[in-house]
Amino acid sequence: MNLINLYAKTQNRWFRLSALLSLLLVFLVLPHFQTNSQLIMMSRIFILAVYGMSYDILRGYTGFINLGQAIFFGSGVYMGVIFLNVQNNLWFFLLAAVVIIFYSLVFGWVMSKIVLRTGGVVAGAMITLALGEIVRNIAERWRDVTGGQDGLPLRFSRVALDPLFTDRVGGYYFALAFLVIMTFILRKFIHSPTGRVMMAIRDNDQRARFLGFKTDRYKTIAIIVSAIAAGLSGVVFAVIVRFANTDYLGIGYTLNALLITLVGGTGTLYGAIIGSAFVTWIQSFLLDLGKMYEGFTLLRFPMLFIGSVYILLVIFMPAGIMGGIYHLRDRLNNRLQELRERAETGGVDKASHRTANLPKE
């Protein structure tokens, strides 16, 4: 009974808001107690969470699987490094952000034009995979700009020293602010009328079309919005990792986004934050483990473990962690409703008997 009371309290708007604020406060104080590598990991988690959300908008809210999402993320990383190499300050960062928004807009539009012709999820996935790998190929050959396979490091020689881009704590706050702002914007987008139509398309494309919505137009909007979010997260990621290479453009990073949304749960938006934390943490854990035990060749292939986790997730837990929580919440809500109704009609005994059997989570 305690559990249900507590849960009923959380329904209170103010309680939720203050819980959120105190969580934010914890994250604001936290960096002063962390080592540099922990700071970098946290910053990565924040940014990859936005990247995961960008993917979730597409896959979770329209059902479209884009296997070329890393194009936008990787381009963002390159754009960030290239612009900050010219002048290392906030203005050039903002310039990079503006350029990537424009770039994602154009490329996202072109991609949607190609992909939406055949309509199917299968064809879309095949085509975006091909597009992604081709972009990676081009980047690998275009050595003057991208540095080819060696990658492109962020130099600090031509610096107008901005603490934002040199200090790890500054970077942490930067990433945190980025996450909060993007979460707010994307949440607004999802709850807008456009977002509602997208969900209708996900649930039943044909029905949405019969209702008079031009579904292709909404899918195009979803692709473009998610492309822009992914590109922006790439630009911020460049500030943290200070390095760009073609891996960020490849299928590996698309898979990362897929994994993040799968762990967290698709169509939940916030799930991406949990997913990002889990995926980033497990990756760095495996990396550390690999350094500790040099002899184990298996540990040099982190994708082996991550991929296996991913397969198991797809098979056994398709709704992810956040999806599981939502599922549980819905069940609780139904139970609560039932209880209230029973209380009103006088069947109190039966109701209290029922609560005893509730799952203890």
Partner: protein
Amino acid sequence: MGTIVTLIINGLAQGALVFLMASGLSIILGMMGVINFAHGTLFLWGGYSYVWSYYGLRGWVITQTFPEAVPMTSFGAILKIQAVQLPEGAALSFGQELGIFLAALVFAVGVVFLLGFVFERLFIHRVYGNAPAQILITLGVQVVFTDLVRVIWGPNPFPIDRPPFLAGVTALGDARIVHYNVFLIIVGASVALGIHRLLTRSKIGMIIRAGLQSPEHVQAIGIDIKKYFTLVFAAGSALAGLGGALYMPLVGNVVSTAGINNQILAFIVVVIGGLGSFMGSFYGSVFLGLMGVGVALLFPSLSVVANVLIMALVLVFRPDGLFGLAVSKK
């Protein structure tokens, strides 16, 4: 004139290789409605098992015939790939070389057939009729099994040779005809013909063709279509394995990224030819192969993007494939 003949043969050989991959992919897609993003991994497994068994077998035969032969530097990790140097002036007979080559091919195809069987039983059969889950699950399998190749045979690329009896080049006028390319064209053409006959003339083919149109009806007649699904999936995988085995000697360099790269080529062929159509994948492969060399000759700087560009154009103007052969299946 000579250059053009050379280029056409090169292009057709390239097309034959892609066809081996694309046809399996296309039949699986058309009949089972399953899209296999792990096809490139099967290709890769075929290639590595061929190379491993070819050098293992050849080394064994050489040391049996010439005990004084010395082994060369080995590559690989858990399983080693080690060539054995023939003594000065010595050679294996044609029969021996052919036997080794064929045995290695059969071994590679067998391994991949089994792998395809296991994939179908373990993963694919759970997700029939659920395209997004198929994409996600096979993508995961692709990543895991590609890394498994790197664990077993090592992540570093290494060079290999063609079998000696296919290594030559004939000069015909000013055309240079690479024997291995001719061999690839012959294999590709006979496989295409074989599958075509199998599909159109045999009982199994009849069931598969019926399955392409309506699996439910086939099931209703009392044929266990699930069993044929497994068989078709494993056979399609085996074709990819054969492609991989023949690909490695062609490029002469064993790289673990070959799988995904060739998978993308196969995808492009399947899209150009029309999703799920066997004949479409045949035309598409020939088209892609010839176009590849044509673009490389005329606009070398465009060769990276040409394939995708063509695919994009085909999709924009002819969403059912260049030849309008797409099998409509949701």
